[in-house]
């Protein structure tokens, strides 16, 4: 059976999304993107410099991928909207990851501003991918605002701590029909696999790949882990029992 993954009606060929920040060079980044076999990559508009020949990060993203700009640096809905519009005006397309951060100590997203920006940008025809704290009520608000997916954090950006928000993500997966893409905090392939086993539609990773000793090698490892986790989810893992099961039932005599 073909395991199709759609966002906004478009088939996405990989459930592993890659961020482009923090790499030691554009060449290493390109190699990691290729090794990841990602179909969607994200880059911060703040880093895109169309006027520079050597610096333009877009020149180092392989052809045929979906470039999802992100609004990194936005401190409120207004700034996120401005960045998204600028991105589209620059020809970077309709895909926008909304990232509004008002706390630089923990780099946690601001859900209220994210919801506001999502509503405005979805109405303008953007494919809105909001990064947010996994809260069920806010997830519903994002859905109602027109989000194309939900991107809850697993742990604060860059911490590599894994699925600290596991229980909340499980609830989002169970309660909403939108694809849930775990974004931020995934530090190891095993954690990515775990997110997929829970039923996440996809995983987005950046720091763990970009800062690995061998980013391309780590990207390939993540791709395999995401695939493995997805297959496990589809295969339906056996239930975990709280108690031991006696091979001869103790209450068998009751017939």
């Amino acid at each position: 059976m073909h395991d199709q993954f759609n966002i906004a009606g478009l088939e996405i060929k990989s459930r592993f999304l890659l961020g482009t920040g923090k790499f030691p060079s554009n060449e290493v980044m390109r190699a990691a993107i290729e090794a990841s076999r990602a179909h969607i990559v994200t880059a911060a508009l703040r880093r895109i410099d169309l006027d520079s020949e050597e610096e333009n990060i877009l020149d180092h993203i392989p052809e045929g991928l979906i470039m999802m700009t992100n609004t990194s640096g936005a401190r409120d809905a207004g700034e996120a909207v401005r960045i998204a519009r600028l991105s589209r005006a620059m020809g970077a397309g309709n895909w926008i990851k909304i990232e509004v951060i008002t706390d630089n100590k923990h780099l946690l997203p601001d859900n209220a501003e994210t919801i506001k920006a999502s509503a405005i940008l979805a109405a303008e025809g953007f494919i809105v991918m909001p990064y947010f704290n996994p809260d069920l009520a806010d997830a519903r608000r994002l859905r109602d605002a027109g989000a194309a997916s939900l991107m809850p954090l697993g742990a604060p950006i860059g911490t590599n701590k894994g699925l600290c928000t596991k229980e909340l993500i499980k609830i989002l997966v169970a309660e909403l029909d939108l694809p849930v893409i775990v974004d931020a905090g995934i530090g190891r392939p095993s954690q990515a696999a775990e997110a997929m086993e829970l039923g996440a539609a996809a995983v987005l990773v950046n720091t763990a790949v970009a800062t690995a000793q061998d980013p391309a090698g780590m990207a390939a490892a993540f791709a395999l882990a995401v695939e493995a986790g997805r297959r496990a989810y589809l295969a339906g893992p056996g239930a975990v029992s709280e108690t031991a099961r006696a091979s001869s039932p103790l209450t068998g005599f009751l017939g």
Binding site: R46, E55, G73, N104
Partner: protein, 365 residues
């Protein structure tokens, strides 16, 4: 609310005494914590911790990678004018210093901006001396507006302004503020700044807060190393940055460690800060403030700057001219300090790449 209240707590306590009582266990504990507190910061800065620099470096490297990746942001200073009413005893621009004085006319600012942006720089720091008569806030606003046409990010390093004046600069396109207290020691501050508006310690100390309130995206603080005990100054620099971070969570707070250089007037550092001291200071700051940017200017030599990559630095200036003008036309004034790293922008990029890091020119829109 003011950082002055925080600093007052430490004013009369012997910080040196506290640092002297640090044990090896205190240092180990500080190293093992994800969020080191003030006491841990002091332990990391202590003379005893100077014997454990490698352990500090390993931790700082890991912390820096997670938060900033293998990336160094480049910027360049642009000196708009060197008129000054102050008498800072250590500074080449001081009022009584006999040097040609000038400021750039708007057309010259534009020429400098064009030349600098052609070199690939997208992040500019505009500087002046302290002269409200010659380089008033209206002039600064006009310059910020001009520069914003050529650069993604415009920061200011000028005399302390009032809240509304900072708001005016933000409205004109400035997004970053750098202002250094020089020394956090109020008595020494008075001694080193004998005349001019800069004598007002408190007005300067509170300037970063006014900048945050005015909507600056990035605020950079620091002390001029070499004026007094570096451990004390770095400790208070760290507390200042932490105070701003905690009170203005939307602002990106960063720190600098400008180390005094020989200048016109021949001021010699009063307290030597060795390369080893400098490195310890940077490592301790990186561990205490894992999310803070750390800037290193061309006051430091090229070889040393290269070695600092991976130890906490996130921003470096490149190809700097520290006289008024100098990018479009040759400098006709002497610089504020002598540039140690005389490498051009391309050379700085090459040395960053040689350390396995990516030089980034643009990081704002």
């Amino acid at each position: 609310m003011s950082f002055y209240e925080v600093i007052s707590r430490y004013r009369d306590t012997g910080l040196d005494g506290l640092s002297g009582r640090v044990s090896e266990d205190d240092i180990s504990r500080a190293l093992s914590k994800e969020a080191p507190g003030e006491a841990d910061f002091l332990a990391l800065l202590s003379a005893r911790a100077a014997g454990r620099l490698e352990a500090l470096a390993v931790k700082a490297n890991e912390r820096g990678l997670r938060n900033f990746g293998r990336v160094i942001q480049l910027y360049a200073p642009l000196y708009l004018g060197n008129f000054c009413e102050n008498e800072c005893v250590y500074c080449g621009f001081r009022r009584s210093g006999r040097m040609p004085r000038r400021k750039l006319a708007p057309g010259e600012v534009e020429d400098e901006a064009k030349a600098l942006s052609r070199s690939g720089i997208r992040d500019v720091l505009m500087l002046t001396g302290e002269s409200r008569a010659e380089t008033p806030p209206a002039y600064l606003k006009a310059c910020a507006e001009l520069l914003k046409k050529y650069f993604a990010s415009v920061s200011v390093e000028v005399y302390p302004l009032g809240l509304e004046e900072y708001s005016g600069l933000v409205a004109s396109g400035a997004d970053g503020l750098a202002i250094y207290q020089e020394t956090y020691d109020e008595d020494l501050y008075r001694e080193l700044h004998p005349a001019g508006p800069k004598r007002d310690y408190r007005w300067r100390l509170d300037a970063p807060e006014r900048g945050c309130l005015a909507g600056m995206r990035r605020v950079n603080v620091g002390a001029l190393l070499g004026l007094s005990d570096f451990r004390r100054e770095i400790f208070l620099t760290g507390l200042h940055a932490a105070y701003l971070r905690d009170n203005f969570p939307g602002v990106e707070v960063s720190v600098s460690l400008p180390r005094i250089r020989p200048q016109e007037g021949g001021f010699s550092p009063r307290a030597e800060v060795s390369d080893k001291d400098f490195v310890q200071a940077m490592l301790a700051l990186r561990l205490f403030l894992p999310r803070a940017g750390i800037s290193v200017s061309t006051r430091e030599g090229g070889a040393f700057r290269k070695d600092l990559i991976g130890l906490g630095v996130t921003r470096m200036s490149a190809g700097s001219r520290t006289g008024v003008g100098g990018y479009a036309a040759p400098e006709i004034t002497r610089g504020q300090f002598s540039v140690e790293d005389k490498s051009g922008i391309e050379e700085v990029k090459t040395l960053i790449r040689a350390r396995g890091y990516q030089p980034v020119m643009k990081d704002w829109t």
